[in-house]
Amino acid sequence: MIGFRAALAATTMLGGLSVASATDLEVTHWWTSGGEAAAVAVFADAFNKTGHNWVDGAIAGGGNARPIIISRISGGDPMGATQLNTGRDAEELVKAGLMTDLTEIAERDGWADFIRPAKLLDSCRYEGRIYCVPVNIHSFQWMWLNRGVFEDNGLEIPKNWNEFVAAAPALREKGVIPLAVGGEAWQINGMAGVFQVALGGVELFRKINVDRDLEAAAGPQMTQVFEAIGTARGMVDDGFVGRAWNDAANMVITGKAGAQIMGDWAQGEFSVAGQKAGEDYDCLPGLGVYPVLDTGGDAFYFPKPADDNPEVVAAQLEMASLLVSKEVQVDFNLKKGSLPIRGDIDLSAANDCMQKGIKILENPDNILPGGEQSWSSDTTGQMEDLWVEFFNDPDMPVEEAQARYVEIIENAD
């Protein structure tokens, strides 16, 4: 219970206020799928054990939740804590002085020493102060395969994208949808990012997402990425319009589809369904071509309470400290399927796929920045629009799409 003591210390430090008494903190988030809900429960239990009370404010769908969260904070009805993507949205709320400053607790607990990659903490920093807690690392760079689908149909289990492409027609013949996709734009956009790495390597990804290199964006490797999305288009079913990612994951779990390109959160669904990595399903980081990971992730923010109520602030700091504590990090990430934000914990309980991920993270060269660190949500949105339009329009020439892509990068912020 390092966290608890630290929080107490912080409380006293922040003005010698009363010892933290039981406080209700409402926590808003959009983690409502099976694996996600199980992971949230870890947080809630840990927090409740400190004598406080986690009031769950789940709202399904980030698109529904974000406006509510932002308008409630700016409307003067702040929740105790909230999941929020780091980046511009949050930054402006921080700038407006609406978030509780976590620097004291972060320094006390030494977040900077153990949070890795360090970039995650940087995205919580504003003018040297810390305003959020990264709670996990998510990477989109995964493909999930149902082993049974391949074995039962006498096919070799693909070890990389190209083998998968080769096996797709055979799957189709057996009445299996080769690739499960959902209808939401971010899913397609994420897939495109995965292809960027798988086909162009780390170099292409860095050139575009870090250096914003227009030549690379217009180059032949990027053309291949567009073509690969075109190929993927031919592997999906007709019913994907409006489908959620976890419903697509479920198609892989139940064997309706062969594979899905989706972030590691999909693994939460596999484990809720009682499936075992390496036995029932397989995972290919970087599509089996370049096993690297981008490092997006979730973060928690703590909006300033209405009247700067010191008891609420104390409870907020306590929760912040708790979320990154060793024990909670292990349990939470095992449930969520994501990787912990600290490397100094024992994850022997992790399954094959997570072990793969941990191993990849050990080498800093394998770590790519996550989307929200590279682009504003506005730019990401433009990319989503482009990818989803291209994905759905076989008549759209690759040159035209790529030209638009270059234009987006050129104007990106």
Binding site: T32, V55, G57, A58, I59, A60, S71, G75
Partner: protein, 294 residues
């Protein structure tokens, strides 16, 4: 059909015009009923049956499990309390919102049709214009307004919002209805010395049940089904039922439970549906009685 007598109930049922008439009505009815049929059927099937069967076939084994689950135990996030919590919240929002918005709008309509003052038509026009503004556009400024009024995130806040957004259409309805009443009534009352409120309460309101029924139908439907305003302005304690519905429907835990979703859907729609079933009769009877119109 053109020679169809406009009179009492037809004597011959096999009149070709009548056959066409009923055929059209029945075909239309099938189109309208199909989704309800699927919802009800699905809500009474077990998951294996849904996975294997087709959506149109009736359940082989009828089960009410999904209904119980939707009402009582369906999960959103950490809580597994189903829809029941939201039901009472929705009621708390619905009843005052409907009453207040209708009272205000009916007075507006009355003032606009019998007591026009300088600029009243301008306000009315702006009001109609307001009904075309997408809600999403108004969210930001409204958050600011309600915050300044100190009612953001409260029951009062959400009632305020529903009153504002109900006003354009309701005012239009009342104004049109009152405008169709004979001016002589009004003049006679004035001669008898009745004032603004006297005429409204003693003469117009008693003459207007049909339009009040229409207004109630509109408001109950709109407010009960509202998601966006409820979730932002009502505050967490008062989340309406639609928020729970959205959570249940859009948050799949594992397999998508269509049967629970459908049951939850029907349960959420039950209140406005009930209002329709009950007041549908009143609606037409009232208007038929109000022969003054036209």
């Amino acid at each position: 059909m053109t020679n169809e007598p406009f009179g009492p109930r037809p004597r011959r049922m096999l009149d070709p015009g009548r056959i066409i008439l009923y055929s059209v009505l029945i075909v239309a009815a099938i189109y309208y009923l199909l989704p309800l049929y699927i919802m009800v059927m699905t809500s009474m099937k077990g998951m294996p049956e849904i996975r294997l069967g087709n959506i149109f076939s009736p359940p082989v084994e009828v089960t009410f499990e999904p209904w119980v689950k939707a009402w009582d135990t369906a999960c959103t996030g950490l809580y597994c309390e189903g829809l029941k919590v939201g039901f009472w919240n929705s009621m708390q929002i619905l009843i005052p919102s409907v009453i207040i918005s209708i009272v205000i709008a009916s007075v507006n309509g009355y003032a606009l049709s019998f007591w026009r003052f300088r600029g009243s038509e301008v306000f009315f026009t702006i009001l109609i214009f307001g009904s075309f503004i997408p809600y999403q556009v108004m969210l930001y400024p409204l958050v600011i307004i309600t915050r300044e009024l100190g009612i953001f995130g409260s029951l009062t806040g959400i009632i305020f919002i529903h009153t504002i957004f109900g006003m354009p259409i309701l005012t239009l309805l009342f104004r049109n209805y009152f405008a169709s009443l004979p001016m002589e009534l009004f003049k006679a009352a004035r001669v008898d010395g009745a004032g603004f409120w006297g005429i409204f309460l003693k003469i117009l309101v008693p003459m207007s049940p049909p339009i009040f029924v229409v207004a109630i139908i509109l408001q109950v439907t709109g407010i009960w089904n509202d998601f966006l305003f409820g979730v932002i302005f009502a505050g967490t304690k008062n989340f309406p039922m639609t928020v729970q519905l959205n959570n249940i429907v859009n948050s799949t835990q594992g397999v998508k439970e269509y049967n629970v979703n459908m049951a939850a859907t029907i349960l959420t729609g039950a209140v406005p549906l009930l209002i329709y079933f009950i007041s549908g009769k009143l609606f037409v009877r009232g208007i038929a009685a109000g022969a003054v119109k036209g």
